[in-house]
């Protein structure tokens, strides 16, 4: 029995419908309730049910924002199609394998396991038809992790409370039997003990955090068209917007959803929609409309593998190009990328305020990893700066909606305001909104829309910058946590590196980036794209050091901390 690790990773696999996703959530909940931290992601095939599914869970003493290099424990409820996860579930020489000998031979990825612990799932469920296989596995995993059995049973009771006491009793009994079956190895992969968390924590997914942050940032209208992996945002908002006097409406397509939020925001109500790459592609024309007509909107893009339908259920960062460059014409807008599940709350809150204050569309560029990862985070202590829309009150007449001058943000009249009626227009317009094709007005309004964004003071939220070194790693989005851990690993090997991760991707911040890169001689760029989109974006907008290397890979295979470490150690001088 070990004395306890600071971080333990568990993978549970089974054919879809075997219940591994629920099992992972319950393990996370039990661990977090006991004071640990954790991160849970899922990997599923495209099937609605059936097919294959995996819960990937990392439990730790300190907060974690990425998956570890290896899994310490692999629990197989069954092995149907489990081979498809081979690349996503690396096992190390000390890893344990828990499986039912009746389920047949484990897939090749299990070959690395040090030891196999047998769990007679089929035998138990045959003897007790009311027991569920995943509850037996849950009990076994909890026991191996050294989780408090009563606490785990409490989570089971809470989860199945609505199904009646018979179901709760059966599931608790199944979990207890699972624990009993592996009793000889109790605590084999135990976590080091922690004190219960003092402050309130949230157990939340990135998609929930985006939705909550946007709502608490002021969003009161949402239009929704379902798409994986963004639908959770919309489904959370549907009942919760109603509770605060807002509205969600389901649109007929993404063309409608983006235009509905433009209409609602034109009416004075801060508005949002959420989508993924294919939906963002459809919305792009109207994003240009929001830019030209200066209507604030927030669009959350939870990125998945692309192009086309790609891999709807798995993560990638390959919508960077369309988010930054997608629009026709010169169309300045905001692109903000959250860096962790907790940062999803911050980024959505911030993006809502910026869109409102700057009367421009904001894209929140999240991804499937962040969106569907669940973790315990500390309740945010501070709110991002509030952004209020500057509105016209009819005091200055004649009213010119697109008046030039000042910081470029011209007061917006809200329908109902007397003497300020105007027509918002996607056509090039004069200061009063009248369509024109004249060169002077075109240039003046392009300048206005650029300058109001470029000239804004975004403050320290623009980027995460950590450490000082002649070596820097530039990354963004969900890879920030991976890079942070990779840098920590390299430090243990005597190589230090600075982390730079811009949260604000548009407008670009050349002066701030120059300051961040001052003294950096060697740069490693880390990104989850096939085409090195981030590197090309950096090269287009920023002055980079002469020595630049890149660690990149498309989804769905995550980049792991040890790869960052290896690049830092092997890539150059210490």
């Amino acid at each position: 029995m070990t004395s306890g690790a600071s971080s333990v990773s568990v993978a549970m696999v089974g054919s879809g419908g075997a219940g591994v996703l629920t099992t992972g959530e319950m393990l996370l909940e039990a661990a977090c309730a006991a004071g640990w931290n954790g991160l849970l992601t899922r990997s599923v095939g495209p099937q609605i049910r059936g097919g294959e599914a995996a819960s990937l869970l990392r439990l730790a003493r300190a907060p974690v924002e990425c998956m570890a290099d290896q899994f310490d424990l692999l629990v197989g409820i069954d092995w149907v199609n489990a081979g498809r996860f081979g690349d996503e579930i690396p096992l190390g020489p000390a890893s344990l394998l828990v499986c039912d000998p009746a389920a047949g031979a484990p897939p090749p990825m299990a070959a690395n396991a040090k030891r196999v612990i047998q769990l007679p799932i089929a035998e138990l469920t045959k003897a007790h038809p009311a027991w569920r296989a995943n509850m037996i596995a849950l009990g076994a995993a909890g026991h191996l992790l050294g989780l408090d059995e009563a606490a785990l049973h409490g989570v089971i009771a809470k989860r199945f409370a609505t199904k009646g006491s018979e179901v709760v009793t059966a599931n608790v009994a199944a979990a207890a039997a699972g624990a009993q079956a592996v009793d000889g190895d109790r605590g084999r992969v135990a976590l080091a003990p922690v004190a219960p968390a003092a402050a309130k924590r949230w157990l939340i997914t990135g998609n929930e955090a985006v939705a909550l942050g946007a709502l608490q940032g002021g969003i009161r209208f949402a239009a929704a068209y379902p798409i994986t992996p963004a639908s959770d945002i919309l489904e959370w908002l549907a009942p919760n917007l109603t509770k605060v006097g807002g509205t969600l409406v389901q649109a007929e397509d993404e063309l409608a959803s983006v235009n509905m939020i433009i209409g609602a925001s034109y009416g004075g109500v801060p508005s949002l929609t959420a989508t993924s790459g294919p939906g963002l592609s459809l919305m792009i024309e109207s994003l240009g409309l929001a830019t030209a007509s200066e209507v604030p909107i927030v669009i959350v893009d939870v990125m998945r593998g692309g192009p086309s339908t790609g891999i709807p259920t798995k993560s990638e960062q390959s919508d960077l190009n369309i988010a930054v460059y997608g629009m026709h014409g010169d169309a300045p807008h905001l692109v903000i990328a959250p860096q962790s599940v907790g940062d999803c709350w911050v980024s959505a809150h911030w993006a809502t305020g910026l869109a409102e204050a700057l009367q421009a569309p904001a894209i929140v560029l999240s991804d499937q990893f962040l969106g569907q990862a669940q973790t315990a985070i500390h309740r945010p202590a501070e709110r991002p700066p509030a952004g209020q829309r500057r509105v016209a009150d009819g005091a200055t007449l004649p009213y010119a909606r697109y008046a030039l001058g000042g910081d470029g943000v011209s007061p917006m009249a809200i329908p109902g305001t007397a003497h300020c009626a105007y027509t918002a227009d996607g056509l090039t317009h004069t200061e009063r909104g009248t369509p024109t094709s004249g060169a002077r007005d075109h240039l003046a309004q392009l300048d206005k829309r650029r300058d109001k964004l470029d000239g804004h003071e975004y403050g320290p939220l623009w980027a995460t910058i950590e450490g000082e070194s002649e070596i820097a790693v530039l990354t963004w989005g969900s890879l920030t946590g991976v890079v942070r851990e990779g840098i920590a690993q390299a430090r243990a090997d005597g190589v230090s590196a600075k982390l730079i991760a811009p949260r604000l991707l548009l407008p670009t911040r050349p002066a701030e980036m120059s300051a961040a890169l001052a003294g950096v001689k060697r740069l490693l760029v880390v990104e989850q794209t096939h085409g090195q989109q981030f590197l090309k974006y950096l090269r287009a907008h920023y002055d980079l050091p002469a020595a630049v290397s890149v660690l990149h890979r498309p989804g769905p295979l995550p980049i792991r901390p040890h790869e960052v470490r290896r690049h830092l150690i092997e890539g150059g001088s210490r």
Partner: protein, 277 residues
Amino acid sequence: MNAAEPLKCRPSDYKSEVKPIWCPGCGDYHVLMALTRAMAALGLPPERLAVVSGIGCSSRIPAYTNCYGFHGVHGRSLAVATGLKIARPDITVICASGDGDGYSIGGNHFLHACRRNVDLAYIVMDNHIYGMTKGQPSPTTEPDFDTALAPGGTGLRPFNPLVVALASGANFVARAYSGNPNETAELIVDAIKHPGFSFVEILSPCVTYRPDQRSWKDRVHPAPVTPTDDPARAARRLMTDDGFNLGVLYRGNRAPYKPPTAAAMLAPESLDEEFVV
């Protein structure tokens, strides 16, 4: 003044200083006239009205009024209008479109706006042609009408917007002819006042690409029957009419769209309680 009493308004109160770009002879001038008369008849102050449109000759209309206007992208006017009306139910929203904008690129939104039954008035200026792009066939163009894009005609059966509106759930279906601006104004008033999604198809000739439509003034005639609230009867009439029947052709009594409301309002800060462990 009594709050319930309409303001004494003149149509000119609703006209902006912006000069239309339409060709002289265009039916849309009549529609603008009818629209401003309808607005005056409603007696609402201009700032309580919003006119939303997409792209095309017809869709230029918001800027020619003194109301709040939104001139968006091609085909999406109904979506903008829907968002605006749901977010701001206190504003009277009129959506304006043409046969290309509304029936072709915006066709899906038309179906779902009818279905959703938000309290909007949707007026479509139908001239059976794409005018702004210079004379291509639209969904309502006759199959044998010769154009550069479809030499000899499209050979396609024209779209029947009224039948589609009825089948999709529109709560009010009417046909107007822009050459009768007063009757058109009355129909627009009726459409705005009727709860739910009200659709007015306005035959509005294009003098430039469809000079043959001058004959419409001799072909239009009042609908020989009173409006029905029975969709089956209305469907039979609309399927068999000659396309020149004017008036209210269906007046339904379906309750308009109403978003869900909460019994009690919560503070946004309280919503994070569900995540606390």
